[in-house]
Symmetry: C2
Subunit: 331 residues, 2 copies
């Protein structure tokens, strides 16, 4: 091995351990929460300092909300639902209020949630008048015999269960509207600029895992397109035996590679770690297929990962006594 090659390798190891952080504490944390607010072309050059500050502050707030639930003995399911709902309410993120617009100038949202205890799951697709799609996904899981409901039917189920519909104007934000208009003019807008998602995974004091994901989808999407966020196995998966995963990125690739389930399967059947499994799927399989994006995950021992092959990913984690918030690749 040449000296130059050795140093190159060393630097690559350092870089990859920064981009995909493995919380390798030997002591299992009492609880753990990892969040993301989307991955893509997110660089220091493309973001002014005020915007950056807003995102960092929002991510920090999300961790505070989630940590309180988990520290107080709440379940991982409650924690991921609550923090995702908070991000849905925050117009900074492409989910709930602040969702991107479809080709037809509408907001159509998808969300899913999964409980690692018994693999129960709920999902909604293409809802247009639901303030918190993640709460409706949980309702589908707990109050219907089904896993996935879409469109008008999902909203009918909502109203029958006492969830009020909101006017579609609630979801409007000027910044997303401008992006919609720009994308209409410029068909060349890259996929990476068009998608965004929020998600959370958690381990609670009882050793249970849960995952939740929510999105407004892809800017100027058409034909009631469904991405990976509401697809159990692609955007969301949780199994106490392995891990809880939430994905964000180019949804079509994440569906074809069954990303969330594949990471769980690699752990279960190959016996490799969460971080090794995430690297295999995100940094190898997806990268080779030009599937830009990333995942967050936590395993049953409280090991964490935030692995992405894009420039940046809004992300953060909290375990007792330790907190991290990041946006760009090299931090």
């Amino acid at each position: 091995m040449t000296k130059a090659f050795f140093y190159t390798l060393l630097v690559q190891i350092i870089i990859s351990s920064c981009q995909s952080m493995n919380e390798s504490s030997h002591h299992k944390p009492e609880y753990a929460l990892v969040i993301h607010g989307g991955a893509g072309v997110i660089t220091r050059n493309s973001m002014d300092s005020l915007t950056e500050k807003s995102y960092r502050s929002a991510l920090d707030s999300v961790l505070t909300i989630g940590e309180k639930i988990l520290a107080d003995g709440g379940t991982s399911l409650d924690a991921v639902e609550s923090v995702v709902a908070w991000m849905e309410d925050n117009p900074l993120f492409n989910a709930g209020r602040g969702s991107v617009f479809t080709y037809d100038g509408k907001n159509e949202m998808d969300a899913s949630i999964m409980n690692g205890i018994d693999l129960s799951a709920g999902s909604v697709g293409n809802v247009r008048h639901i303030r918190n799609p993640i709460k409706l996904a949980r309702m589908v899981m707990e109050k219907s015999p089904h896993v996935m409901l879409v469109g008008d039917g999902a909203e009918e189920f909502a109203t029958q269960n006492g969830v009020g519909l909101v006017d579609s104007s609630y979801f409007f934000t000027q910044i997303r509207w401008d992006a919609h208009m720009k994308a209409l003019e410029d068909e060349k807008t890259s996929a990476a600029e068009k998608h965004g998602t929020v998600g959370a995974v958690a381990l609670d004091k009882y050793g249970n895992l849960a995952a939740a994901t929510s999105t407004g989808g892809m800017t100027n999407k058409r034909w009631n397109r469904i991405g990976d966020s509401p697809i159990i196995g692609a955007g969301t998966y949780a199994n106490n035996a392995t891990c809880a995963i939430s994905s964000t990125g180019h949804g079509e690739l994440f569906i074809r590679y069954a990303v969330a389930h594949d990471i769980s399967a690699l752990m279960a059947y190959k016996g490799i770690s969460l971080q090794e499994a995430a690297n295999e799927v995100v940094m190898k399989k997806l990268k080779e297929a030009k599937g830009e994006g990333g995942i967050i995950g936590v395993d049953h021992d409280g090991n964490l990962t935030m692995t992405f092959n894009s420039d940046g990913m809004y992300r953060g984690y909290v375990i007792p006594g330790k907190r991290y918030v990041g946006i760009f690749g090299n931090e």
Copy 2:
């Protein structure tokens, strides 16, 4: 006794003694096709001989159509699309014409298709005016940047691509209407009686795998429920490196267990055979979770499986020189 005859006899013995047949030839067949027409409470006592004959004849016709394509050098993708489209056109099966009715007395169909060469996939959900949902799923795969389109949007995509819509009356069959009315009166109708699906998996002369699945869903389903059939990883999966799988059964469980992808993952990561993987998922995991149903599969070496934990499954396979059709468990 010739070697060929001995082999045929051996396979017949295996078939007659196993619900889950494994085609364990050491010689890779030039091509292979496996089909299903749904699994559930299908017993000799519950079926008159005329009905039984109709199903056997239909399954045999499907195999003839598929075998011709594969023997003539057609692709596995063309074969699975064509045979599933034929079953959609046949009112005996719960897919396309002959689909079951929703709670609101409508027909809403789902379908998906996947190409093992490059993991490309297409899927449609909740379409109501598409004669052959499987053909639309393939069109989504090949003519859109997306994997999954649902509802009105999927139909808009269809018309923009020259697919004519059919009146919803096309899908009406008296037998499904009667089942709908009966289910409205008797809420206790078991899940097993309410679902049904068609599917096909194939290996072509070029060594490529493909899978396709189509359904009318669950009788009296509500709220635009989406089952496993259009979910890549649950109802359908194909990867040249492992296998092609099509599922049929209680869709919610098949989604939660990511059944089709799980079988592929077990083969890839544990190095076990298609039949061992199918047993692990269908006869163990799903059975323990009371997830009734089954799968068909073919691997890259032409090994076949038709594995189900229900009383029966409409099924069949063909490889050069050999053909099998079955309905009940013990045949």
